[in-house]
């Protein structure tokens, strides 16, 4: 039985003994101890030249740290609110592409070579990385890159485009 299940069960038993006490509940709903995904920055501001020629590409746009705690098998999912496009209003879209590049060396338990590691992918659907080894306490790190291609010979409608990129830790 996993450690966090034991902890939850123990807390459940405590609460059961004193059903009027609710003080322990917030502790119970906490995620498994230590499992997390953190970024060095949660806001990415990008200036796109919009000259019909220049690609925006930053392979190190952000640094992601994954801590699995005692989870051996887990998955990291990448999803986009606008299915891989930055959006301005209701009519204008700029497709973008994401890539994960491992920083941490050695055997990190990454299963195979997911598409998002092999190259830049548009998040028209969820892209995943699966792991079969728990991370060290300090976690493992990946660069997250972003790329926006020009449309040859055309301008994008100028203005501010936004999207929300969600990276999710899923215990297996």
């Amino acid at each position: 039985m996993k450690k966090w299940v034991v902890v939850v069960f123990a807390l459940f038993m405590i609460l059961k003994l004193n059903a009027q006490a609710s003080i322990g509940i917030t502790v119970v709903v906490a995620p498994p101890p230590g499992a997390s995904i953190t970024m060095d920055s949660y806001i990415w501001d990008i200036l796109f030249a919009n000259d019909g020629v220049t690609t925006y590409q930053n392979d190190n746009q952000g640094t992601m740290t994954i801590r699995s705690s005692d989870r051996k098998n887990f998955r990291v999912d990448f999803s986009s609110q606008n299915l891989g496009s930055l959006k301005q209003g209701t009519d204008y879209y700029v497709p973008y592409y994401i890539k994960a590049t491992r920083i941490t060396g050695g055997n990190i338990g990454l299963v195979g070579t997911p598409a998002i590691v092999a190259g830049y992918v548009q998040l028209t659907s969820v892209q995943s990385m699966e792991f079969n080894k728990k991370t060290p306490k300090e976690g493992i790190q990946f660069y997250i890159g972003i790329k926006i291609d020009p449309i040859s010979g055309e301008f994008y409608e100028s203005g501010n485009y936004t999207d929300t990129l969600t990276i999710t830790f899923v215990g297996l």
Binding site: W4, V5, V8, L11, F12, L15, K16, A19, S22, I25, V28, V29, A30, P31, P32, A35, S36, I37, M39, S41, Y42, I43, W44, D45, I46, L47, F48, A49, N50, D51, G52, V53, Y56, G62, M64, D77, L86, V94, Y96, I146, I148, G153, E154, F155, Y156, E157, S158, G159, N160, Y161, T162, D163, T164, L165, T166, I167, T168, F169, V170, G171
Partner: protein
């Protein structure tokens, strides 16, 4: 079911689900608004014969825009006249946008017009990155009296703006 038990159950379910990070991405796509002409000086001989001068494509205007709505404005320093001191020769221009009707909302210079006041062409489509080109036609109407000989000048201003 007792409330604490229910909350613990919710906690167990939450604990078996997912956690992660959310990143807000904002891309500022640069605005391109530019007008240029093939020649910044037009030298037009007037032989004082009374015959009208009509020069199709006296100049070529190139417009580049990354916006769907923008306006190109034409104005004249001397309100549509070439001047030599107090002497004046009225002239007219027109801009031929017939090759890009789908991109033009309103062309107030579709026929020969004297720029006594600024005139506009309102566009409704962004251009390719190479821009769109339009001929600027020039006209001095036929006349029955001689103009005083000499050099007559004016400055034609062309600007582009977007809301």
């Amino acid at each position: 079911m007792k409330k604490p038990f229910l909350l613990v159950l919710i906690g167990i379910l939450a604990a078996s689900m997912a956690w992660g990070a959310t990143i807000n991405i904002t891309a500022n796509v640069s605005q391109i608004l530019d007008v240029s002409v093939d020649a910044s000086t037009w030298t037009i001989p007037l032989d004082n014969s009374g015959t009208a001068i009509t020069n199709a494509s006296q100049g070529i205007l190139t417009v580049k825009a990354s916006k769907s709505n923008y306006t190109v404005t034409f104005s004249s320093t001397n309100s549509g006249a070439l001047k030599n001191g107090t002497e004046a020769i009225p002239y007219k221009i027109q801009v031929n946008t017939s090759a890009w009707t789908e991109g033009v909302q309103t062309n107030n210079l579709s026929s020969y017009t004297q720029l006594t006041t600024p005139q506009t062409i309102v566009f409704k489509k962004k251009t390719p990155t190479a821009g769109k080109t339009f001929g600027i036609d020039f006209n001095i109407e036929a006349y029955t009296e001689y103009y005083v000989d000499g050099l007559y000048t004016d400055t034609l201003g062309i600007t582009v703006s977007a809301p």
